[in-house]
Symmetry: none
Subunit: 217 residues, 2 copies
DNA sequence: AAATTATGTTACAATTGTATTACAATCGTT
DNA sequence: AACGATTGTAATACAATTGTAACATAATTT
């Protein structure tokens, strides 16, 4: 999952289309059709990117933009507007919008811009550390008590998932679907990767017999 | 060529005059008569100096100023305004304008100020260096431990992107969209360019199997 | 304790991804 | 239009990863 996008758009046909495209691109999204719902959702969760329509039934996306930029400056805002409303564009940009897309837009283009925004956002070094392990999501570096470990992609993904869910018991199915995308079927692949991680020195990987594994703190 | 100037001015008589004068002074310029055109041009090219009228048919030069200063802080902005509008002047300077010229102005004086701005701007380092590599964004020169490398445009763009994002793992997807504008599709072009850079001596380009590349420090 | 089931580990093969060369298409000049 | 430079494609060779099979070992159930 590459990030989270909140979509504020009252035309369900449009927001639906966007959602489908984001799903296909492995980007998690939530759609809202009123300013009220949107702001309410912001209380409990902060997305990486906000996609804001300007004309909404209960307010203006420009006001939302202003609010978001004030309260959550790390959220990247992309405005959507009706064709020709160039004054909105200037206004939006001056209020701190990061990008701008005019309707009608190509879903492909929009997705590309969202991807770019997510990338830009990620430029802030994001680290994750649990116990004596520390991983850097940007550089894909892993340190165990300060020493660099060389992991390949699957090993890294798996370790990342373990660390993000440290303490929880993770079933084999969960891991297989999250990391491998397997829906079902029997495989020993997971055991294998766990074994490799252990051999590299990751000691806090407990096996939960009959269920799966647990990354302990 | 001493630099590039973008002129945003809706009176064609004035912008024409400015352009002629700049041409004579070996300064490259592009003129725009609407905010829309101006912002659009900014997407693909960043000038050294922006000359901004304030009253425009589709917006205010002050909004443009704010936007430019935010997104391209190295661009030097000179405001143009009708005589007597002192409040604009104050407002503009508070938004980060570098200089201010009142209409009607002497073309000679304006040109002098632009020259001064270009000189000042040149002083700002437009260099980027990481490890033993140094690139000059103006002249497109590249030095590897002091020795000049000859790169062509794509090689330069790619290296620049790598250096700007040194340390981060850059996916093939990201590089292809950022440098090539590809939205999807499979290509070996990227591998090729990386290979060329390496052959030229750029040694700190790591391949991250299954994902992309990383420019290490 | 034997039988059954689940996991650990190793080695290897299949798969997938990359490097590099040579060449073709394209672009920008003249 | 023709030239040279640049940039993308195809093809080949090569390398890394990752899933599978096989067998060993451990845990659970009977």
């Amino acid at each position: 999952m590459k990030g989270t996008v909140f979509v504020l758009e009252d035309d369900v046909a449009i927001s639906g289309l966007i959602k489908v495209s984001l799903d296909m691109n492995d980007i998690s999204s939530k759609t809202f059709s009123t300013v009220k719902d949107f702001l309410y959702a912001l209380v409990s969760e902060t997305p990486d990117v906000a996609l804001l329509d300007i004309m909404l039934p209960d307010g203006s996306g420009l006001d939302v933009l202003k609010y978001v930029k004030e309260k959550h400056p790390n959220v990247c805002c992309i405005m959507l507007s009706a064709l020709g409303k160039e004054e909105d564009k200037v206004h939006g940009l001056s209020l701190g919008a990061d990008d701008y897309v005019s309707k009608p837009f190509s879903v492909l283009e929009l997705t590309a811009r969202i991807n770019a925004a997510l990338r830009r956002n990620r430029a802030l070094n994001k680290k994750l550390s649990v116990g004596d392990l520390e991983i850097n999501l940007d550089t894909m570096e892993v340190f165990l008590s300060g020493n660099r470990l060389e992991l390949n992609r699957k090993e890294f993904e798996l370790l990342k998932y373990f660390m993000k869910n440290a303490g929880r018991v993770l079933s084999r199915e969960e891991l297989l679907t999250e990391i491998w995308g397997y829906e079902q079927g029997e495989t020993r692949t997971l055991d294998n990767h766990v074994s490799r991680l252990r051999k590299l020195g990751v000691h806090n990987l407990e096996t939960v017999f009959g269920i799966g594994y647990k990354f302990t703190v």
